[in-house]
């Protein structure tokens, strides 16, 4: 049985900026940020509300369908759950922060002030999903600006809203195709660049750029090993041939010298040089 992936749809035009989602998030995950004021993600805030003109925009990890962070993590501390969340296992994490370098959306945050630091990012409340509950933010939203559901249904709903009110929306569901698609989708009144979001990310999953490298390792080892052995054999053979030719030349020289009655002293010299 295949699991139908879930996700969140955030509709900017419906958000009144009441911050119930941020409150629910900080409470649910025991984070220290002040939900009333936070406008930037941090180690203390997995989501935030940023006023943008007359609108408000939420920010949170997009939980990509092909997450770069999970692909690059050397110990597999970040993993894509087939339901949608990109889960984080703090016990496995070594703190290399490659996930932060790799994330095209700059979402993971690090506990720089802690002596036992962790990565912080939205995981779609995977613990609540386990209990059959929706993510805390979606449950808290009274405007239905953030809604939870099957990703397929959310995309259909987003396109329905765009078709119904073309004047209200920029005709693009941000996250439907970006870097192969994301679990968190955005409906915005204007292009996302104006929100400071990255727009030109392409539709190809980024891990495709790097997974080809590890896959080449067996070939590199086999071909490389063979090539090195060949070079070793050829250069050694070359030296052997050179030495043998040298010896033969010396022997010939030695014989001709003897025939012409050279002194024994010179012979020793020749032998030495060989």
């Amino acid at each position: 049985m295949t699991i139908e992936p879930v996700g969140l749809l955030f509709d900017m035009t419906r958000c009144g900026g009441c911050r119930e989602c941020v409150k629910a998030c900080t409470k649910s995950h025991g984070l220290a940020a002040n939900p009333e004021t936070v406008t930037e993600l941090s180690a203390d805030a997995r989501t935030c509300i940023r006023p943008n003109g007359e609108y408000n925009v939420r920010d949170l990890c997009r939980n990509c369908l092909s997450p770069s962070c999970a692909s690059v993590c050397p110990v597999g501390a970040l993993k894509k759950d087939e339901r949608g969340p990109v889960k984080y296992d703090a016990d496995k994490c070594i703190g290399c922060r490659y996930c932060m370098v790799a994330c095209p959306f700059n979402m993971p945050r690090y506990e720089w002030k802690s002596a036992v630091p962790r990565v912080q990012k939205c995981d779609l409340c995977v613990d609540r999903l386990d209990r059959g509950e929706p993510p805390a933010c979606a449950a808290a939203c009274r405007q239905e600006a953030t809604v939870f559901g099957k990703r397929k249904d959310l995309i259909a709903e987003a396109h329905r809203r765009i078709a119904e009110s073309p004047d209200e929306y920029h005709p693009h569901v941000y996250g439907e195709h970006e870097v192969g698609g994301t679990s968190v989708l955005f409906l915005t009144p204007y292009p996302v660049e104006e929100l400071g979001f990255k727009a030109s990310l392409g539709t190809e999953p980024l891990p495709d750029l790097t997974v080809v490298v590890p896959r080449r390792i067996p070939a590199i080892v086999l071909c490389g090993g063979a090539a090195l052995s060949a070079v070793w054999w050829i250069t050694r053979r070359r030296d052997e041939v050179a030495a043998a030719e040298n010896a033969a030349a010396c022997a010939a020289h030695f014989r001709s010298r003897n025939q012409h009655g050279a002194s024994p002293r010179e012979d020793v010299d020749v032998e030495h040089r060989a």
Binding site: S71, V101, A115, P117, S200, L201, V213, S229, W232
Partner: protein, 382 residues
């Protein structure tokens, strides 16, 4: 014993002893702070710049400098260029210390130092960093095997010397393969960030460029070491050093051609001649690391002088360290916004690690007699 000390070049520290000791002491103070209060207390690392000079300079730069090991071992044992035999020991010791210092910095840099062994048991074979960590562990083992011969020889354990000699060739081949993989993999680390890394540095050729430059750096470091270890004349005879420089120039040429063709092919060669911050940093790395050394080594007089070789090699080293800093820091600044400037404590740690490697080389070179004796063809006298 005492008579040998005179004709074998020594890697002397002199006045620098005090500087190195001060750096290491300062490093210990920073280390205590870092492990008690977290990375934020000692560094300017941030969510925008999660990787700083520890990774860029000590890890990427250190591993590239450690390229001396596989470069020279491969040249001597695989390509049978026996005239480079006298520099093998110095190259292996230096490579080992370069890798050890990179590993020490990583131990310091990662958030949870005590979890540094996790890649051994928690696998993600999709991750290039996972490959790199395994390559580094295996390669350091190879260098230890290679270096252990020196120690056994010194201790007079002849049976172990013989065993070590028997495994040298396979160990060298494994070492060359591992180096090829991890030097290029370090470049491949950045392939995941096409949207963030500036076009002057982001290229599918990053793995190849990292690999080729590590070879050039390997030869450059041999020249630098020979100069630092010798007092009036290089610790390695000039004719050999001249050959080393010639090979280095050839490899710089290969690197330069790939670099320029790649920029041209991607249609961004023009960016290199701009007056932007990125263009200037690119010019710095390329002129210093490639153009100038090749230019000055084209002059026969400079090529024939020990100082000339030394200056050219130092340029190569600085140029390619600049390259690693550019790939991992400069190239991200436009996309990430703002600038990353390392904190004083960060710089202290970076230098303290280098200081420890230098001290290690000082004692290692003395203990293991890594440099060939001078003007003495009688072999070992004691």
């Amino acid at each position: 014993m005492s008579s040998i000390a005179h004709d074998r070049p020594q890697f002397r520290l002199g006045f620098w002893k005090f500087v190195l000791m001060a750096l290491i002491a300062a490093g210990v103070v920073v280390a205590v702070q870092r492990w008690s209060q977290g990375l934020g207390a000692v560094s300017n690392l941030s969510d925008r710049y999660p990787w700083g000079i520890w990774k860029a300079f000590n890890v990427l730069g250190g591993v590239a400098i450690g390229g001396a090991g596989f470069t020279i071992m491969g040249t001597v044992y695989v390509f049978h260029a026996r005239r480079f035999q006298p520099i093998v020991k110095a190259a292996v010791l230096m490579a080992f210390l370069a890798y050890a210092s990179a590993a020490a910095t990583l131990f310091f840099d990662i958030g949870k130092s005590w979890a540094i062994w996790h890649p051994i048991v928690f696998w993600n074979h999709e991750s290039i960093l996972f490959d790199v960590s395994w390559c580094l562990m295996l390669y350091m083992t190879v260098l230890l095997l290679e270096g252990s011969g020196m120690l056994f020889e010194r201790l007079g354990w002849l049976k172990l010397v013989r065993i070590q000699h028997a495994i040298t060739l396979p160990a060298v081949m494994v070492g060359v393969l591992l180096s090829t993989m991890h030097q290029s993999s370090l470049g491949a680390l950045f392939l995941i960030s096409p949207g963030k890394l500036h076009a002057l540095w982001y290229t599918p050729w990053l793995p190849v460029l990292f690999f080729v430059s590590a070879i050039a750096l390997g030869f450059a470091m041999v020249i630098i070491l020979a100069r630092l270890a010798g007092k009036d004349e290089p610790a390695i005879p000039m004719p050999i050093l001249g050959d080393v420089a010639r090979v280095m120039v050839a490899i710089l040429g290969v690197f330069g051609v790939i670099r320029v063709f790649d920029l041209a092919q991607r249609g961004v060669l023009g960016l290199a001649f701009d007056t932007t911050y990125e263009a200037m940093m690119f010019q710095l790395e390329f002129v210093l690391g490639v153009v100038l050394p090749m230019a000055i080594l084209a002059v026969p007089k400079i090529r024939a002088s020990a100082s000339g070789l030394y200056v050219a090699a130092a340029m190569v080293a600085l140029g390619f360290v600049a390259n690693r800093l550019n790939v991992s820091i400069t190239g991200f600044e436009a996309a990430q916004g703002g600038h990353y400037v390392p904190a004083v404590a960060e710089v202290i740690i970076s230098l303290a690690v280098v200081a420890m490697a230098i001290v290690g080389f000082h004692f290692g070179a003395r203990l293991l007699r890594v440099f060939p004796e001078r003007g003495n063809s009688w072999g070992r006298a004691g």
